[in-house]
């Protein structure tokens, strides 16, 4: 009998931790001058250094150090005044030197935290370390059912990714979140992604693998105060999967423990389709990586004034921005969350900066444009319209030049590449008819066509004017400003 998630939580307290790998967005690789652009022809962005050819030597990319310090500072870490790279030794064909240059017991950043909001509550996630290393190449295993190296007929290796700077951000174990554990895990990764994006240090695209998570989960028997054995779920590659990985591991471990078994320390693979994990490599006998200080590199000793100048140049971080926007735009937590989840914060803020009210900016981006983005399966920021253009449409509506229906047509035109909002208005002839003399002839015709109604209005039944306004709007094919038409009708029939 399978244990449900809810049942598991009645007996066990989940503890989770996350190791997040982030490819830095430096122009060149960690230890050589090769470019880091994603998606290049296999093995076209390589040199003797990142191929690990005999005799080649690494030289540290200063920008990668700077980016890592930025991350450390944004995560409230202590920045080491002196630290070293270390070699992590193991054999694998996608690693050209059969060791990875990483950091071991001397990480560049340590002992920080990140506050994350979950359902309006703040949870503080402690950060153990942030260190810098080089990425490996990418293997493509051809033949065989699993796409893994076991059973493959042959394997191809692309070293374009080898040597791209990779930052590993490791949390301390997070206890005490109870049934919210999966949500807190997801919220942490979301917040971390937003922090990294605001720092401009990575494009943090989980779908392209520039941000990858390993999720550690263990259960503690409620009230025992003793933590259980953890499993490590590898390469969880979407925010939703982070949540699902924790959510599926809790009842699985509970079932093992309920049956009197013991959780095996192992890596587990997450399956996107089923939301389940399956057993991978056992970590009961820890692999010995034979770490030792990298003798080809000199120690990294960031000067205190350099670190301070980096701190001074940090942009506004998401948590600060949240507080600011909540106040400035008079939003509820929920409204803010929906903006953030839709990836619309930047465009809305830019639209407000271009002159729109926050209410209008939100209305367009979260309404009409969100619908279109949804249809296209992208975030609103990927639509072919700029915040300035949205602000202009909003201004045209406020000025009475457009009504909402016409404004939607203008958006269509801009998205279809017909030009700026003003050009679309011009080309499509969409402006509200604002020339009173043109309206007056249409009004006179409508009055003549509806003598009974006109009489009612004259006798004081002002609400009856709607019929005449409607007729005018129909005659002008919706280009008239209804409010102005009503004014003019009432003047005529006064």
């Amino acid at each position: 009998m399978a244990v449900t998630y809810e049942e598991a939580l009645t007996r066990y307290e989940p503890v989770f931790g996350l190791e997040t790998h982030v490819e830095l967005g430096t122009r060149t690789k960690m230890f050589c001058g090769c470019i880091t652009t994603f998606g290049g022809e296999p093995n076209s962005q390589v040199c003797p250094v990142c191929l690990g050819l005999p005799g080649s030597l690494p030289v540290v990319n200063r920008t990668a150090i700077e980016y890592t310090i930025k991350i450390g500072l944004a995560l409230n870490c202590t920045i080491a005044s002196w630290c070293r790279f270390a070699r992590k030794n193991y054999f694998y064909p996608d690693m050209p030197k059969n060791f990875q240059i990483s950091q071991y017991d001397e990480p560049l950043c340590s002992e920080g935290y990140l506050d994350v909001a979950v359902s309006g509550e703040i949870v503080r996630v402690s950060i153990e370390r942030v260190h810098l290393e080089e990425d490996t190449g990418k293997s493509l295993h051809v033949g065989g059912a699993t796409g893994r190296i076991q059973g493959a007929e042959y394997s191809l290796v692309d070293y374009n990714r080898a040597g791209i700077p990779l930052v590993e951000i490791v949390t301390k174990p997070v206890p005490g979140t109870g049934s919210m554990a999966p949500d807190v895990a997801r919220a942490y990764v979301t917040e971390l992604r937003d922090v990294l994006r605001s720092l401009g240090v990575s494009d943090v695209r989980m779908e392209e693998g520039s941000m990858r998570c390993d999720v550690n989960t263990s259960l503690s028997v409620r009230g025992s105060g003793v933590w259980g054995t953890r499993t490590e779920t590898k390469n969880v590659n979407s925010l939703r999967s982070v949540e699902r990985a924790v959510r599926s591991e809790i009842p699985r471990q509970a079932e093992v423990l309920d049956a009197g078994g013991r959780v095996v320390q192992e890596t587990r693979h997450f399956h996107e389709e089923s939301g389940e994990t399956t057993s991978g490599r056992s970590k009961e006998e820890a692999q010995d990586y034979r770490y030792f200080p990298e003798p080809d590199l000199v120690p990294v000793a960031p000067a205190a004034d350099w670190v301070e100048s980096i701190r001074a140049s940090l942009p506004e971080l998401p948590s600060a921005r949240r507080s600011r926007l909540l106040a400035a735009w008079s939003l509820s937590e929920l409204e803010f969350e929906s903006l953030r989840n839709a990836g619309a914060l930047d465009v809305v803020e830019a639209t407000v900066a271009a002159g729109a009210s926050s209410a209008d900016a939100r209305k367009w981006w979260m309404g009409e444009l969100a619908r279109r983005a949804n249809e296209a399966g992208v975030e609103v920021s990927y639509l072919a319209i700029t915040p300035a253009e949205v602000a202009r449409v909003s201004a045209l509506v406020s000025a009475g030049t457009l009504n909402d229906r016409l404004a939607r047509e203008v958006l269509d035109g801009v998205l279809a590449g017909e030009g700026t909002p003003d050009e679309v208005v011009e080309k499509r002839g969409l402006a509200v008819v604002s020339d009173d003399s043109a309206l007056l002839s249409a009004i006179d015709e409508a009055i003549a066509a509806n003598p009974d109604v006109a009489e009612k209005v004259r006798s004081g039944k002002v609400q009856a004017a709607g019929v005449i306004v409607g007729a005018v709007m129909k005659a002008t094919r919706g280009k008239a400003d209804a409010a102005r038409v009503r004014e003019l009708v009432l003047e005529r029939l006064a």
């Binding site: 003797p48 690990g52 005999p54 005799g55 080649s56 030794n89 059969n98």
Partner: protein, 500 residues
């Protein structure tokens, strides 16, 4: 070989450069003379693994054309140089003396050989060495040993044995080696030539296939002090491609080699580098050299370096540890030998079993063990502490003296095969040279005569603080001048191995 060709191979690099620059002889003639000498002698010496005949003659022609056009020539224009086979040379095979790299042709050039070419020197070819520079005799080469030109039954030292033998056999006036535990100084000493380990970081390691990264130092070998200094000057200086390269001016080594003057210098004799295991003839020649220095006006004092005795064991933990990691990349996946079939792991294991020789395997195993979890602190960690103590010994010594001296090697050249099955005996050949590698300072070996008991050359080691490489040449030039004038000819004129 023509008389003129023979004459050209007896000239110094300095003389050759001057003659070529003056147009007295062409670079092609000089290169051809050395290629002829290689053809005549190298079947006995076996200094070269690869002779780059066509490339060398093309380089020589380019130098002659450059001169004909009236362009300014580099410091070593037209001078042939033999290069140890672990410098990556673009388009020229590079094996590191290992079967595992057989057939590998690097697509790029090491910084040191690029500087050699920029100075218009001519690269004659690649010289034999102990596999991946691990050894003191060239017997660990995957391609058979080289022979000592003084006595072909003897080893030429190692690991840069091919480079030393080529110079001693007049196959090249100069050669490049690397020194990780004595691999330039020891073969220079037992072949009766000059060899320098520059300050660590003074010459770039970029493109030098790594043995032990924290110890490897490229350096020059030559038949006399001035030639060696010239090559030292050409290959040295900061390289942004090597993070451990020192960003400082090259010490004035050529200037120092031209003015060998030790008057007023204080020279320290290291107490610990003498005693049991040192050959009597080595000690008598060493004592004679110290007297000569005193006679030239140097103040000689005895200095104790109490931690030098731990140098050898510390070295044999640090170097193998780095080796175990540095040699991991030779797995048959990307270049060089590939052996076996099956999974990637099986191919890697079979390739490494087939491609590495016994000494490489021994050191990979030693290093893997020394770095393993639970043993790291006791072995690698402790060895690094010893290293710090040895650095302090040197610092204390150099606060009292300008240079330190010792025999370069405990014994003269030994027989081929004599120590091949006794690694410990082999390791002792580097007893005197290892401390300078651990400390990263500069050191050189200069010939001081023949051991009376066997007529084989003895080297004097001179050690100087980091970036004081010029002091080595001051002392060595003074010693060389004193002995040459006493003898009436350079020591190498007495080498009998080639029937000269």
């Amino acid at each position: 070989m023509t008389g003129m060709g023979r004459e050209l191979t007896r000239k110094t690099a300095t003389e050759l450069a001057a003659a070529i620059a003056a147009g007295d002889v062409s670079a092609v003639e000089v290169t051809q003379a050395h290629l002829d000498q290689i053809a005549a002698t190298d079947d006995r010496v076996r200094a070269f693994l690869h002779v780059a005949t066509n490339e060398a003659l093309a380089q020589a022609r380019a130098v002659d054309e450059k001169r004909a056009r009236g362009e300014s020539l580099g410091a070593l224009a037209g001078v042939p140089v033999a290069v140890k086979d672990l410098f990556a040379t673009a388009g020229v095979p590079t094996t590191c003396g290992s079967k595992i790299l057989q057939g590998w042709v690097p697509p790029y050039e090491s910084t040191v050989t690029a500087r050699l070419r920029a100075a218009d020197a001519v690269v004659l070819g690649k010289t034999n060495m102990d596999e991946f520079a691990m050894g003191s005799s060239t017997e660990n080469s995957g391609y058979g040993p080289s022979h000592n030109p003084w006595d072909l039954a003897k080893v030429p030292g190692g690991s840069s044995g091919g480079s030393a033998a080529a110079v001693a056999a007049f196959e090249a006036p100069l050669s490049l080696g690397t020194d990780t535990g004595g691999s330039i100084r020891q073969p220079a000493a037992v072949c009766g030539i000059v060899g320098t380990k520059p300050t660590y970081g003074g010459s770039s390691r970029y493109g030098v296939v790594a043995f032990a990264s924290s110890l490897d130092t490229p350096g020059p070998l030559g038949r006399n002090v001035l030639d060696t200094a010239l090559l030292h000057q050409v290959i040295s200086g900061h390289d942004p491609m090597d993070a451990t390269s020192i960003d400082a001016p090259v010490p004035p080594v050529v200037e120092a080699a031209r003015h060998g003057d030790v008057s007023g210098m204080t020279i320290g004799v290291v107490t610990e580098l003498a005693g049991d295991g040192y050959q009597p003839g080595v000690m008598s020649r060493f004592a004679e050299a110290v007297e000569v220095l005193q006679g030239l006006g140097a103040k000689v004092v005895e200095v104790s370096c109490p931690h030098f005795k731990y140098g050898l064991p510390a070295y044999y933990l640090i170097a193998p540890s780095e080796v175990s990691s540095n040699l991991a990349r030779f797995d048959g996946m990307r270049y060089g030998l590939r052996a076996g079939t099956g999974s990637a792991e099986e191919v890697m294991a079979t390739t490494r079993a087939a491609g590495f020789g016994a000494e490489a395997k021994r050191r990979i195993m030693l290093g893997t063990y020394a770095l393993s979890s639970g043993y790291y602190d006791a072995y690698y960690g402790k060895a690094q502490q010893v290293r710090t103590l040895i650095i302090r010994d040197f610092e204390a010594a150099f606060s009292q003296v300008d240079v330190l001296v010792s025999p370069a090697t405990p014994t003269t050249a030994f027989d081929i095969g004599e120590r091949a099955d006794d690694p410990m005996a082999m390791y002792l050949a580097d007893l005197c040279t290892i401390p300078s590698n651990l400390a990263g300072n500069a050191a050189l070996s200069v010939p001081v005569g023949l051991a009376p008991e066997n007529g084989l050359p003895v080297g004097l080691q001179v050690m100087a603080p980091p970036l004081a490489d010029d002091r080595l040449y001051r002392v060595a030039a003074a010693v060389e001048a004193a002995f040459d004038s006493r003898r009436g000819h350079p020591l190498l004129a007495e080498a009998k191995g080639l029937g000269a």
